[in-house]
């Protein structure tokens, strides 16, 4: 009886040792789909070269845009995933396709800038502007920052403030702006 017990027990012990010999494969690198690494702001106005500011995950201090007072600028916002330099993805496409659940918005500090939807801006099914393309006009000189928001599933699409839109913030990055004569 006792011998049988020990046999069973030894067997159990040995079989448990078998698990110890497994070798695991190297894990695959995750291809991140949700990631936005880069936000660009492009400023265009007649008679001036265009200016493009880039906010990047590994360079969180973008250059300053210098804009003229009382001059309308066409501003384009783009969201990119540049985590793989060989395969840059334009997230702006996804935002456009899901216009009803996205919203771009700008908030300015120490700047007097009015903005409105541009001619080639994207509009959602209720004809609300997304502000992917907008017209900016500064009414006074000064130096300050603009905070660019990308809002996912906003609770309102017709607000005039960030908090009014509600929703989840996917992007909130600051760009320095200087307004000159």
């Amino acid at each position: 009886m006792k011998t049988i017990n020990y046999t069973i027990q030894t067997f159990l012990l040995c079989s448990s040792m078998l698990f110890f010999s497994c070798e695991k494969e190297a894990p695959e690198l995750v291809e991140e789909q949700e990631l936005i690494t880069t936000v660009t702001l492009e400023f265009l106005t007649e008679g001036e070269p265009s200016q493009t500011l880039r906010w990047q995950m590994d360079n969180v201090n973008p250059e300053t845009a210098t804009l003229k007072v009382n001059t309308p600028y066409t501003v384009r916002v783009a969201f990119l995933d540049e985590s793989d330099p060989g395969d840059i993805e334009d997230i702006t496409q996804e935002v456009q396709e899901e216009a009803d659940v996205h919203q771009v918005f700008f908030e300015f500090s120490d700047l007097n800038i009015d903005f409105s939807s541009g001619a080639s801006d994207v509009r959602d099914s209720q004809n609300n502007p997304l502000y992917l393309q907008s017209i900016w006009n500064a009414t006074a000189t000064g130096t300050g920052t603009v905070r660019v928001y990308l809002i996912h599933e906003p609770t309102s699409k017709t607000s005039t403030s960030r908090s009014g839109f509600g929703g989840d913030t996917d992007v909130a990055v600051d760009f320095p702006i200087r307004i000159i004569e």
Partner: protein
């Protein structure tokens, strides 16, 4: 179906133990001893031991003890009777004072009201007071999760993530510091996560105990908080078919649950049992609004088949637990600014109409367990026991994502574990009991890369090998001493991608260059291999000071290796807007704990107070350490680090029964937790809590009514983790304080229970119960709910419960 009791039960051997000499005076003979179950040494309560032809008799107490004093005859006939067994007669010669133990093959034919614990736990845990749920309490909480049921015990609180996800906190500790043992095997799920509820259904079990001390050493030495031990119903050695069905209907969440259990046993010892639970709820409601996306679905079934004989037995057991739980939609936020807005709002920012549909964010889990147990008893009453279990835990978490990806899991983990537990227990002179055993674990975690989200937990394999030895010395019923030791070796073999820049900034490149495998762009594949050696020890004594007055004192040393989350976690928490980083530098955590217990029981009165004190070195803890600029703005970074921690507290219980009709009960618990290195309080320490109830039972015991009141104080001892965030208001940057630290106000909650008994089989009842929870519809928030910033707790709930036992 019922067989005569005489057939069910038979008495086996009875034999004597030590003799003591006393002065041979007439009528001074005495006889004492124990009546115990041969199966598992559990004491048999209520057996009548009498001397034939005299008025001398004694009934065994809950520990199975009897005592006959003042006997005058040298030669007597002892009769041992139990309500469910034929009586046994034995001739006994009384030359001296004598101790005589009876071993009774006690096959219960009714499910017991109070489930006797597994023998080893019962005896080896003598020096630490246990808390347990009765079968009736398990039924009462049948529509709730295991954690919610446990939180009715003093000293156990709930760590919540919203209203559906909860896990137990014992003496201020949770997660990897609390173990769950089901059917004799540690539950291996992703227990490290604060928002991971245990993947187990309480309804499959009939015994629930919270144990601390030596008895835990069999299952692990790493749980400084304690172990929750779930045991199934006892098997009967008779031809029988029995079961129970419970139905719950609830107004809050417009849902309910259904449970059914069926067991078939035979006199040959073969048995088969099955259990099924289904739960479904839609959105729950706070007093003033709908909690959108808080529904839940759960389906559980288990099947067991086995054979039990007096000396040996085996069992094959399979169980499957599957659930889906919604997470409050309003708690899924993008950044700190969103959190600020939520903090300043009295209501959740998204309130949709009631629905049963569960959308992202949500969690899905499947836990499967296949288990084989075998035991055999040798002649000298020694027992070999083997348990093997294979568990697969699959966990998926869904976030609100762009481009239809919400339907794809953002976290997809598969944890497979093989556990083997072998133990040998034996007794020596009935005074000493020993148990020695070994415990092996192989665990494999796979993190699916197809989620499109950086892995929160990497792929890893974990190996554990441990051995334990516990001993109990119990010379009399008035004194016991127990002690135990456990040694464990633990090896982590992980494979993880680190962001190359992170790897360097944290200094890992210098300290852990040996783990580096391969560079892939800006990612570095590493293979951290970490070994930990842990020691656990326990010793305690229990002694009676006077009639019904017992004192227990225990010291527990436990060591715990950091878990996968503490070492490796890497990701963003949507509900708290935090980034969490694991820490490779972590060493094992050591906790010294002293528990004291004083208890007094007399007639219908019982009281106990249990102060405790613990000191932890290298206590692994997560706290904010700096701010990181991300695409979503500034984020607080929470890092795991080690500190020294002091915790002290007490649990108290008071119960008074008046004329078997009115029961008054009062329990309180308080805990103080301090981070000694940072000189600040610990986060998420349960606030002072007082629970009182009054129960009236009708004279004929046909119905009862219970009013329960719970007071939870405001936690005044908390760390200040508030920080500032720059918002833009009216064209200027305004720094705003993000107040995430201050605990909410205390609250009072009233519950009422009204039960009507339909039938009674022994102590087991069928009944209809009407329940009103949060009767006053009080609007309150709970400090231990991690989503307290977003919504209030549940409002009033009416519940109809039907329990049928057959």
């Amino acid at each position: 179906m019922k067989l005569s009791f005489s057939k069910l039960c038979f008495l086996l051997v009875a034999f004597t133990l030590g003799n003591w000499f006393v002065s041979g005076q007439t009528c001074a003979y005495s006889l004492r001893g124990k009546v115990i179950d041969l199966h598992d040494s559990t004491p048999i309560y209520g057996a009548l031991v009498s001397v034939e032809g005299t008025d001398f008799f004694s009934q065994t107490d809950e520990e199975g003890n009897y005592l006959l004093e003042g006997l005058c005859y040298e030669q007597i006939i002892i009769s041992v009777e139990h309500p469910q067994c034929i009586s046994l007669k034995r001739e006994v010669k009384l030359l001296t004072q004598k101790e005589l133990n009876f071993q009774l093959e006690h096959h219960i034919n009714e499910l017991e009201e109070i489930i006797l614990s597994e023998s080893q736990l019962e005896t080896q845990n003598a020096s630490v007071k246990e808390a347990r749920l009765s079968k009736d309490q398990i039924s009462q909480y049948s529509s709730e999760s295991i954690s919610e049921a446990l939180s009715s015990l003093s000293g156990v609180s709930l760590l919540q993530t919203g209203n559906t996800i909860s896990k137990p906190i014992i003496h201020g500790m949770f997660g990897s510091r609390v173990g769950i043992v089901a059917n004799g095997v540690r539950l291996r799920d992703q227990e490290w996560g604060a928002d991971h509820a245990p993947s187990i259904d309480l309804n499959a079990f009939e015994g629930v105990q919270v144990i601390k001390g030596a008895a835990t050493l069999k299952y692990g030495g790493d749980t400084a908080g304690g172990m929750i031990v779930l045991t199934p119903s006892k098997k009967m050695l008779q031809d029988s078919l029995y079961g129970a069905t419970t139905l719950n209907l609830e107004s809050n969440g417009k849902g309910g649950s259904f449970q059914s259990k069926m067991n078939r046993t035979t006199s040959k010892g073969l048995y088969i049992g099955a259990h099924l639970t289904a739960r479904r709820f839609g959105d729950f409601q706070a007093p003033n609004y709908n909690l959108s996306n808080t529904g839940l679905e759960e389906g559980v079934f288990s099947l067991k088949f086995g054979k039990t004989k007096v000396v040996k037995g085996w069992e094959l057991n399979y169980s499957r637990f599957q659930n889906q739980m919604g997470i409050l939609r309003a708690s899924h936020i993008g950044n700190i600014q969103d959190l600020l807005v939520a903090l300043n709002s009295n209501e959740p920012l998204r309130i949709n109409p009631f629905t049963y549909v569960i959308s992202a964010p949500k969690q899905e889990g499947i836990h499967q367990n296949l288990q084989f147990s075998y035991y055999t008893t040798t002649k000298n009453n020694a027992k070999w026991q083997w348990e093997y279990s294979y568990q697969i835990n699959q966990r998926k978490e869904y976030d609100v994502r762009r481009a239809g990806r919400s339907d794809f899991a953002a976290l997809d983990l598969k944890l497979q574990s093989h556990t083997l537990l072998g133990s040998y227990s034996w007794e020596n002179d009935f005074e000493w009991k020993y148990e020695w055993g070994i415990n092996g674990l192989f665990e494999d975690n796979f993190s699916n890369p197809n989620t499109g989200v950086k892995r929160l937990i990497p792929d890893y394999t974990k190996y554990e090998l441990g051995t334990f030895f516990v001993a109990v010395y119990k010379p009399t019923n008035l004194f016991s001493w127990d002690w135990g030791l456990r040694l464990d070796g633990l090896f982590f073999d992980a494979q993880k991608y680190y962001d190359l820049a992170d790897w360097e900034t944290r200094g890992y490149g210098l300290r852990y260059s040996r783990f580096e495998i391969q560079n892939r762009g800006n990612q570095l594949l590493t293979r951290p291999q970490l070994f930990y050696f842990n020691l656990a020890a326990q010793t305690g004594i229990s002694f009676a000071i006077g009639a019904g007055f017992e004192t227990k004192l225990a010291y527990i040393l436990s060591q715990r290796a950091p878990n996968a989350s503490e070492l490796f976690s890497d990701g963003l928490h949507h509900s708290l807007a935090t980034i969490e980083y694991g820490n490779l530098d972590l060493k094992k955590e050591t906790t010294h704990k002293v528990l004291l217990s004083f208890s007094k029981a007399e007639g219908g009165f019982s009281a106990s107070v249990e102060p405790y004190f613990s000191f932890s070195k290298n206590y692994i803890y997560i706290a904010p350490q700096g701010i990181e600029q991300t695409i979503r703005g500034a984020f607080p970074v929470w890092n795991y680090f080690a500190t020294d921690v002091l915790m002290a507290g007490f649990d108290s219980n008071l119960e008074y029964e008046i004329k078997n009709q009115i029961t008054l009960a009062w329990s309180t618990s308080y805990i103080y937790g301090q981070d000694l290195m940072e000189a600040q309080p610990l986060i998420l320490i349960p606030p002072f809590n007082s629970f009182q109830k009054i129960k009236y039972t009708s004279k004929k015991r046909l119905w009862d009514v219970e009013i329960a009141h719970q007071f939870v104080g405001q936690q005044g001892n908390y760390p200040d983790f508030d920080f500032t965030y720059n918002t833009i208001e009216m064209g200027t940057i305004v720094p705003k304080k993000v107040e995430v630290s201050a605990p909410p106000k205390g609250y009072n909650k009233w519950d009422v229970f009204f039960s009507i008994y339909l039938s009674q089989r022994g102590q087991s009842k069928s009944y209809v119960r009407l329940v009103a929870q949060n009767l006053t519809n009080t609007d309150y928030r709970n400090y231990l709910n991690r989503l307290r910033f977003f919504s209030s707790e549940l409002g009033r709930n009416f519940q109809l419960q039907l329990v049928l036992r057959y």
